[in-house]
Point group: C2
């Protein structure tokens, strides 16, 4: 298999984009990535699109040819494939695009992700999100997405002594990082008090413990490493790519304080990359809820199981801490247009490794990690990136 | 890239399976394929699942880990990826699984497809199917899936003199083939008169011009060609795999009598396989409507453009005709559980090439072709198969 590089990145703003349609979002992200890569659209060999629920949010399935079409590429009749893995759709698209280039099947591949979530009401959006958990054993009985994460939080607090303040520290940190990111949906700092006093969503999780609903798109351009230098001085190599799955239903898991899919996907990616968690200086992890980031930094072995909350409150995951986590603001502050999330995470790590992250630049950003989760952890995808020059 | 073989096949019955859930269907197909391949589940490296709209039919997204979970594979935390390309979801899953093995990333891969369509009413099912056409330019104005195909039929009749009887001949032939297939949803022959006198759905298409709504699942097992002989005496090699896309909306097409995506996907697959249309002895093509099969046999270059209807009525596509088309009964008679369709097509061609098609066995089944379409032709996938021994 060939080495693969990311040579271009592009994203829309994330937020409630009521003046932009799904197709406009997809095109904008793609065009920006193409421009950033300095390729022409004639050079593109294939598209991989991550999208969770366009069928339900905008009544449109079959969105991969749609994106190709509206990007003016219809005449090329490109292979265009949509993948779906709930919140991990973007990460799985990246893994599939990576495989397409690594295999030698295609040379230049666009990996895009997009979601348009705010055209439906909040209640309907919540129902749509809950369809990524186990419909027959969870959602049908009224278990919502936040309530399932709340159960993990309760259990984590019970078993490891994780505190409400530990959870809140995730939100405070990610909003601080988001305030330094001009593309973030929320660019205001929040205080610990604000998080602790916010209205409850599913106790112990309050409003500021939950990532928002967002519209947005993100795209990256991949090519073989040995051709990357033709396009850019700072190709970013994908050193490792791991996907793992688990049961949909929480009650079937070995332990709901650990996402085994994250553990395994992380090991697979790090093993392929020949790196250890200690090598990782900057990471975008899946913080759809504050408890999710705490579990992620443990399951990715940045910290011992049970110590992730304290480590966060101590600032070890802050900008230029031991490992800088969610410098973009994460899903919490950068926003969470579901299908775009995994690709947007890649973009942030590319910016960090290129040294283009401006006010939120990590000093020694040598090795980066991306961690994208679907549902309540039934899918996890991890990628390891480094500068390839 | 490595050569890839299909070493196992498995399918459920197709029909209105009110006593089986989506997850039961997925498991049954997978287990049968695993048993047919003679592998153990411990040998599986990854799953690729084709599914169109479980999010809408059964309110369940994220179905790839679900299938892994309910197949008892959760402990292996396998990479499991759902792909969606409307009616071509199964074919795109096969193409992606092919790439996964060809790349060297995985050795043993299950490609599955499943759909559970009859848990919703017919009107809702029609709306769900119509979401695979262009929502903003077609479906929202009331254009249904059959009406879009009816427009193609009208135009084809106008330009090429294709007759109502030509269309009907597709249904008659495919029901005859279906009567020989114990797994088909409809196993009764129908007469030309029955087709012509059936109630109209979208004129000129009547009830017997349309494939049914179905529940069902299908799965195949892939492995590298050089290991295939360990598992089976009759490995079936995938010689070519082509995906192509086109505009979602019909009005943006160059010509609605041709599916350019089919033309291009066919050329890509045949080019890779180093075969010509003349080499193909048996083909499963996407006959969701009778006009679709006529266009397919032209666009795949079995017959000149405009001659597909007459060729069908003359029997050139009948069992042991010039090219035996839809020996399974096709979508029309075998049934059309959307996400499973592309995989079920592969299974029929594998049976033919193995010489296991019993009463519908084609005499000189040397080279087989699979053609799977999404929406009204915005995605097409073509695979070329031959015996690998």
């Amino acid at each position: 298999m060939r080495d693969v590089a990311i040579i271009g990145i592009g994203e829309t703003e994330f937020g409630e984009l009521w003046n932009k349609s799904f197709r406009e979002i997809g095109i904008e992200a793609g065009f920006k990535a193409i421009e950033d890569a300095g390729i022409t659209s004639q050079q593109i060999d294939a598209l991989y699109i991550g999208n969770m629920s366009a069928g339900k949010f905008i009544e449109q399935e079959h969105v991969a040819p749609l994106v190709a079409d509206y990007s003016g590429l219809a005449d090329m009749h490109l292979p265009a494939v949509r993948v779906e893995a709930a919140g991990a759709s973007g990460g799985v698209a990246l893994a599939t695009g990576y495989m397409a280039v690594a295999s030698g099947m295609y040379n230049i591949v666009i990996v895009g992700g997009a979601e348009k979530m705010t055209d439906v009401g909040d209640t309907q959006a919540l129902q749509i999100l809950s369809a990524t958990a186990d419909q027959e054993w969870e959602s049908v009985f009224g278990a919502t997405f936040p309530s399932l994460y709340a159960m993990m939080a309760r259990r984590h607090m019970h078993v490891y002594g994780t505190t409400r303040e530990n959870l809140a520290a995730v939100a405070v940190k990610n909003h601080r990082n988001g305030s330094l990111n001009p593309n973030a949906q929320y660019r205001r700092e929040i205080s610990m008090e604000m998080v602790l006093n916010a209205p409850p969503v599913a106790t112990p999780l309050g409003m500021f413990d939950c990532a928002p609903l967002s519209d947005g798109g993100a795209a990256v351009v991949l090519c073989p490493m040995d051709r990357a230098k033709k396009f850019t001085d700072t190709p970013i190599q994908i050193l490792g790519s791991g996907i793992a799955t688990d049961t949909l239903a929480l009650h079937n898991r070995r332990d709901i304080c650990t996402m085994d899919a994250t553990v395994i996907a992380g090991k697979r990616a790090l093993h392929q990359a020949k790196r250890t968690p200690k090598d990782v200086k900057v990471a975008e992890v899946h913080d759809n809820f504050t408890i999710a980031e705490i579990m992620a930094v443990e399951d990715l072995r940045f910290f011992e199981k049970g110590k992730g909350g304290a480590a966060t409150e101590e600032g070890l995951t802050a900008l230029n801490g031991e490992v800088s986590v969610n410098t973009s603001g994460g899903l919490k502050a950068r926003g969470q247009p579901v299908g775009a999330t995994g690709v947007a995470q890649a973009i942030e790590i590319v910016r960090q490794l290129r040294g283009e992250a401006d006010k939120r630049q990590v000093d020694d950003a040598t090795t980066g990690l991306i961690h994208n989760v679907g549902g309540t952890g039934a899918t996890a995808v991890v990628h390891i990136l480094e500068r390839g020059d």
